[in-house]
Amino acid sequence: MRKLTMAEALREALIEEMTRDPRVFLIGEDLRAGVPFGVTKGLAELFGEDRVLDTPISEAAIIGASLGAAITGMRPVADMHFADFVTCAMDEVVNQIAKVRYMFGGQVDVPLTLRMPTGSVKGAAAHHSQSLEAWFVHTPGLHVVFPSTPADAKGLLKTSIRGLDPVLFFEHKRLYKMSGEVPEEEVLIPLGQADVKRPGSDVTVIATGWMVHQALDAADRLSQDGIEAEVVDPRCLAPFDKAALFASVRKTTRVVIVEEAARTGAFGAQVAAWIVEEIFDALDAPVRRVAARDVPMPFSPPLEEYVLPQVRDIVDAVRQVVG
């Protein structure tokens, strides 16, 4: 099968959906130039500047405007530039986008996709490295998607754009250039379906985004010692595929939860809670979590590396639960 980078796959998804539906348009900062991750570069030439809207640095207005467009017949795909700046539009995301449908008793649909370039990237430091997905999982009214491969990214972005509900679509910065197989034919991946990225019998490793790849690396290492990890990628944090996770845990009876966000209060805490609330008896060992240390992202490489979860941390955690 042909290979694409995640940036190319996302771009293809945008092109296909913009071609298919004239209501789809892009809005955000520096989209025409494709700064900084290149996904939207050249799309203004293809679809016209009316459908690829560069904006002032006005996150609140951009996101609020996307909502206004979404509830009156358009299908905006907004771009947060860096997920960190969602703080500048938090009211629009949380109090408006997530709530209008409900507050108004279902009078409006909100077909809005908000692309969130997320996570650490070497030396980007405290304002350009955050993993904030947990906030939105805790915000009723939003879908939260977080793909780890080009194919998943494409299929999930297409579904998000076609849906009638708001989606926060996290794209990990370190994955834009990672390549993977992407089918030529159209694939729509439903929201809320996990994918087992590697089958295994000894332990369930559930990981998101870039950490899926770290988990796969760890699984390879563990395999050399005869430990077979099953790597589950939920792909969507909300709605979350509990059934898939639980099936894996029932089989392996052991769990390691891996994510890049700062540890305390991260999404993985909710995953642990689901397990201990709902399938406690299936567990043969404590749940282990691997996550970033609870500090802002420091600039210096050795500090950054120390703060971020490493493959060896995953390996260690697995050894603890299977040990």
């Binding site: 996307s66 507050m103 009214g141 849906g163 509900d165 709605p239």
Partner: protein, 322 residues
């Protein structure tokens, strides 16, 4: 600008209906019969009526926490509105929104807003959508003087101008943001001064003069509809009531309230029309009667409607059921 006698009567009727609605709400709330809290627009009816009357029925309105008047003026069903305030399942929002989130998309009102200045960027987006769909609609966005000090005001205006969006921004400057005086909180005496920062003309009208409001908004709406871009209108009004019902208003001079009450937009237009013979006092009395009857029906509907069943709380979150 000439305004037909019929239009003027429509404006008067609209204000009378708003006043009747708001007074019912005031009394019902004081009697403890409505849950939550309410912000009333009594005294400010001239802006809601004047501005909305300049719109087509398919035009849009973004409203505020003080939004009942905007809803009534744009044509929302008062019975469903009242049912909403009674927290009933027959309400405009099925009892989920209440006063601060009341909305009626069927008449283009895309919602009150519990967040001050929450509506401005949404309005810009509605304008964008209108432009993209080439639908020839216009979006009217109400906001208060207090909202003009929030960042989203700034961002939304800038966006509307650079994209030449068909949005008419109407600031209802009643001199107060809750207990905080506009003259204290805002660096400039007229919010309209700020329009120039976005390349717009800042039009100031007397919001107690409904015809002046209507005239200014009509002009702005026509220009916006013709592709001329956004407009900025500041209407000076007086808040007759407390910020919210029950507000003791210790911060406010009684003389200011009295002065405000002496400048009643309804009386003003009524007297003018009667004086010109455009509307007899009997016709005006009939408008009041009709409004009272309408509100009797609205209250009866609201009162008699059922409360939502608890499990309905789980509905309406997503279009696609999870």
């Amino acid at each position: 600008m000439s305004i037909s006698a019929e239009k003027q009567r429509e404006l008067l009727r609209s204000m009378i209906r708003i006043r009747a609605f708001e007074e019912r709400v005031r009394d019902l709330f004081a009697a403890g019969r409505l849950p939550g809290f309410v912000h009333l627009s009594i005294g400010q009816e001239g802006v809601a009526a004047g501005a909305s009357s300049a719109l087509r029925s398919d035009d849009y309105v973004l409203s505020t926490h003080r939004g009942h008047g905007h809803m009534v003026a744009k044509g929302a069903d008062t019975a469903r509105m009242m049912a909403e305030l009674f927290a009933k399942r027959t309400g405009s929002c099925k009892g989920k929104g209440g006063s601060m989130h009341i909305a009626d998309a069927s008449v283009g009102v895309l919602g009150a807003n519990g967040v001050v200045a929450g509506g401005l960027s949404i309005a810009a987006g509605v304008g964008l959508s209108i432009k993209q769909r080439r639908s020839g609609q216009v979006c009217l966005c109400f906001f208060g003087d207090g909202a003009a000090n929030r960042g989203p005001f700034h961002e939304a205006l800038n966006l509307a101008v650079i994209w030449k969006l068909p949005v008419v921004f109407v600031c209802e400057n009643n001199g107060w943001a809750s207990s905080t005086a506009h003259r204290y909180a805002c660096a400039v005496p007229d919010v309209a001064v700020r329009a120039a920062g976005y390349g717009l003309r800042g039009v100031i009208v007397n919001g107690m003069d409904t015809l002046e409001v209507y005239g200014a908004v009509r002009e702005a709406v026509e220009r916006a509809r013709a592709g001329g871009g956004p407009a900025f209108i500041e209407a000076k009004v007086v808040r007759w009531q407390g910020h919210y019902e029950g507000d003791p208003q210790g911060y406010r001079d009684r003389a200011e309230i009295a002065d405000g009450k002496s400048r009643d937009p309804i009386e003003r237009l009524g007297t003018k029309l009667a004086g010109e013979g455009a509307c007899g006092t009997e016709q005006i009395a009939e408008m009041h009667r009709a409004a009272q009857e309408e509100m009797d029906r609205a209250v009866a509907f609201g009162e008699s409607s059922p409360l939502p069943a608890p499990e309905e709380a789980l509905e309406d979150l997503f279009a696609a059921q999870q």
